[in-house]
Amino acid sequence: MAMVASKNHTNGTLNPNAQFQRPFTVEQVMASTPVADPLKLLDCSPITDGAAVVILASEKKARELCEKPVWINASTQSSDTLALHDRKSLSRTEASIKAAKKAYSMSGSAPKDIDFAEVHDCFTIAELMAIESLGFCPMGGAGKFTEDGETALSGSKPINTSGGLKAKGHPVGATGIAQAIEAVLQIRGEAGKRQIEGARTGLTHNVGGSGASCVIHVLSDEVRP
């Protein structure tokens, strides 16, 4: 979990719009103030003021107005019980799993086709659960996947290139749109120092109510399927 925080803060240093633009080491995360076991202060996303906007248009209008439109290939939502104690398992987020399944089928893609993702890392554990739910790694394998550096900018599946909620900030109402903006920048090749080479398809994963509802979008530089 500390590696998630450290990685996202590192990405945040490359994002001029991030709330926190300083790096933290794993040791610093581990040594930060405890909040609720096992989460430390630096495992938690901050309280942020912010705004974000995207312009939506029909396919025809988008082609007319924009040189590099980014296409929404999937937009799905799913829900689960709000109370954690009503869930069948605490180690799975059913809403994310279902929304992901729908998103992959709607966009005719699979986890391997996703070049990068912005996931809802409201707490570091949430990023680990998200990448498992999205099928980027096997259930229970997120820790190792992160330790191996696969989710870093240079990894096979960069996660939260913007710095995520952790470093970019979490202005609750604007967070989902901010994720879409990062995806647009990456797909257009305009993400500056944190640009992933050859990024064409990205996924955004936004969550509310401790995983009770989840919205997933698949964005790409071509209309699919």
Binding site: P34, V35, A36, D37, P38, L84, H85, L90
Partner: protein
């Protein structure tokens, strides 16, 4: 953390007496109470059900940075409690140090002050849980067994009698 008085008032039964519901169709128990069984839906037969208050720690955390109104209690334990009858609820664990809590620890419900609105505001009471000490557990297990065997006797007596009126055996529980 200001919650309407009316809401608190409506929730007194679950909060004071751990009263939930059960589905007579499938036997599932619900806490807080549900009016419809999510499995049986229109076939659900919802009945009022008072939980025994016994259960165990399913999972827990120790809150060290407490929300407004709870600062003076930190660090304190919040757990998901698996009630003996099957439902789960989230509650504070008291009479237990954070270093002593463990998953699977047997618990019993206890009635406590939860929060006071302000100096002149209403005081909200409700359920919390505490570790069930071994001695008390033995005694109460014995009591439960006694009660069960005596009702069994009563039932078998009845059965040996002429007819057994088919009534659902919702025996009143002694004590609580």
């Amino acid at each position: 953390m200001s919650e309407g008085l009316a809401l608190h008032w409506r929730l007194l039964q679950p909060r004071y007496n751990l009263i939930g519901t059960m589905c007579g169709n499938c036997g599932d128990h619900f806490f807080p109470p549900r009016n419809i069984c999510p499995e049986c839906r229109r076939k659900s037969k919802i009945e009022r059900f008072r939980f025994s208050g016994r259960g165990e720690v399913y999972t827990y955390t120790v809150v060290r940075a407490a929300p407004t109104g709870f600062e003076f209690q930190a660090p304190y334990i919040i757990a998901v409690v698996a009630l003996k009858e099957g439902a789960m609820c989230t509650a504070q664990i008291v009479d237990c140090l954070p270093e002593d809590i463990s998953i699977g620890m047997p618990l019993e419900m206890t009635f406590r002050k939860v929060i006071a609105d302000d100096d002149a505001g209403i005081i909200r009471y409700g359920y919390k849980f505490r570790p069930l000490d071994a001695l008390a557990q033995k005694a109460s297990d014995a009591a439960v067994e006694n009660a069960a065997s005596s009702t069994k006797k009563a039932v078998s007596n009845k059965k040996s009698g002429k007819s057994s009126p088919k009534k659902k055996g919702d025996k009143p529980k002694k004590g609580g």
